[in-house]
């Protein structure tokens, strides 16, 4: 009987020991010192970037890149080069931005994650689109789609770029389809900024198609997200677009109200150019004979 008891307790001990081993095995692998250091620098750079301190972000990214290169951490190198390109772009150094991205697609190529390569391709496409080099933009979209296979986090952004290209070619139906597809592909919790971009673009295309109800709805959705994210420049842009669509529908007072809000935001941002732009639009609107401003009773 004692032996039976002992056997049972031994089995229990053995099971407990095995469970403990399994639990220990599930603990994540500890990062090495250099990777940790690169991560810290990269995180600091991210914060600096988001606060608009691009020079400081660039310096930290460069340091983080050197460390990651020294340990051949391919995944980190790809991400840091992508982020560094963003910093260079904001610092008005487009060549440097392209150099960082090109490094990911040239030899010696490390095993970079396809999702990051898709993001880098999307970024290159965006820069070419901004530079009005539409054929290059399209080729990089296609390259990005090749890496992404419709399942990576930038799938929505690639659709958004396609929508912009179609919009520029005046293929409005196609553009709207892409923009709405982008809005559906983007995750509402993780990619809010890009989602707001998709709604805004969808609104612009709808306005161009004279579908004002949809345009207003889309701009309002974009505005709500941008307010939630707290991006003054984009809030201003949404208000300007809303003003424009109300102006087109003949609701001049509502349009003027939107412009007035955009003016306040521009002023609060300290953007003289923004203020002048809004004032010019408002002046043009007030010249119309039927306009009634909110305060003019």
């Amino acid at each position: 009987m004692v032996l039976q008891m002992l056997n049972r307790s031994n089995s229990g001990l053995l099971i407990s020991f095995c469970l403990m081993l399994v639990a220990c095995g599930s603990a994540p692998e500890k990062q090495n010192f250099r990777t940790e250091q690169a991560n810290k620098l990269s995180a600091r750079a991210d914060i600096a970037f988001l606060q608009g301190e691009y020079e400081s972000a660039k310096n930290d990214y460069l340091q983080a890149l050197r460390i990651s290169q020294s340990v051949e951490n391919a995944a980190e190198i790809a991400i840091i080069r992508f982020n560094l390109a963003r910093a260079f772009h904001e610092l008005a150094q487009p060549e440097q931005a392209h150099l960082q991205l090109d490094a990911l697609f040239s030899e010696p190529a490390l095993p970079y994650p396809p999702a990051t390569l898709a993001a880098a391709a999307a970024l290159k496409s965006q820069y070419y689109l901004e530079g009005k080099e539409l054929s290059l933009a399209l080729s990089w979209i296609e390259k990005g789609e090749g890496y992404c296979q419709n399942k990576c986090p930038v799938a929505g952004s690639l659709l958004l770029l396609r929508a912009q290209l179609a919009q520029r070619d005046n293929r409005l139906d196609e553009a709207l389809k892409f923009a709405d597809g982008a809005a559906a592909a983007l995750k509402s919790d993780m990619q809010q900024m890009e989602l707001a971009n998709a709604y805004r673009l969808s609104g612009e295309i709808s306005m161009a198609k004279s579908d004002f109800t949809k345009a207003i709805h889309s701009f309002q959705q974009a505005h709500a997200i941008d307010r939630k994210l707290g991006i003054p420049g984009k809030i201003r842009l949404d208000l300007m677009r809303l003003g424009a669509v109300y102006e087109r529908t003949g609701e001049a007072a509502t349009a003027l109200n939107c412009y007035a809000r955009a003016l306040t935001v521009s002023d609060a941002m300290g953007s003289k150019q923004g203020v002048d732009e809004v004032r010019a639009v408002m002046k043009g609107l007030q010249k119309l004979p039927e306009v009634k401003t909110p305060g003019s009773q």
């Binding site: 994540p28 998709a198 953007s271």
Partner: protein, 324 residues
Amino acid sequence: MKLFSAHDSRLAVLERKVGLFAFAGLGALLLVFVIVAIEQGMFASTTKLRFQTNDVGMIHEGMEVRLRGFKVGKLLGISLKEDGAVEVQFFVDNKYLLHIRHGAKVRLIEQGLLGDGVLEIVPGPTDQPNLVVNELLPFERQFGMGELAHELVERLKPILDNVRVTTTSLNEPDGLINHVKKVAVKFEKAGEDVSSLMQQTQGVIAEENLKLGKALDKSSEAVDKVGVAVDKVGVAVDKAGVALDKASTLIDSFHDVALDVGKVTASSAESIPPLLRDGRVAAEDARNIISSAQASWPIKNMMEAGETKILPMDSYGVTNAQPK
């Protein structure tokens, strides 16, 4: 086939011994439970009391109720009344109830900078009748460190304004007198006292990197103003030579200023440094506990190191959105 125990009679004795050992272990465990229960006051005779507040911040179930530093009870529950008031029930051990009379009140005391609090019973006058079960006691909150610092700044403001007005008068070409020098020395000392207090406070806060930073920045500005004012007094006094009609007014004004600053310095010196000390100790304790936990297995292995993340895509509107 027989069991092995049937062959060896020693195993029968061993079985009894193991059984005895197991019973003794269980008994000891039970005893420990009983002792802990007694320590926790589970068998103590208690009286339920209550108080009402409009803000349940810092109050939580199970928090200690103290009387002159002794733990005398525990918070039982918190409920929201129909009128919106928050009613809090707590119990007090009957053996301490003799010291708590009608007119007693409950005070929430913030312990240190980390913000943990305890309920302290302020006993009523001894000639008052005993409390009855479920009696409603008045409740108040003691100022936390943040409020104390803000109050200090608020109290310094009018004094500093007074200093500014006075020193402006002194700097006027016809406003200088010899007697000012004596008063100014007194004033300067008072200013130094405030400055020293504020620097000490700010030093501790900076060290602990806690919530008073903002409030004390204001204090620091205030202290800088005192410094400027004192400097100006020095310049003015050096220029002093001719006694004028304004002399007595200026002396009175300076005297008031010196008194006010002295009062603030004295009262603040009483209340702030002990609280800061508590806060520092608490913060150090917490830091030690956290760093020990972080360094220990298995938490060390479970701590997720930060990962490099891709910046969120923004493929439309950046250039347009940020007019320079």
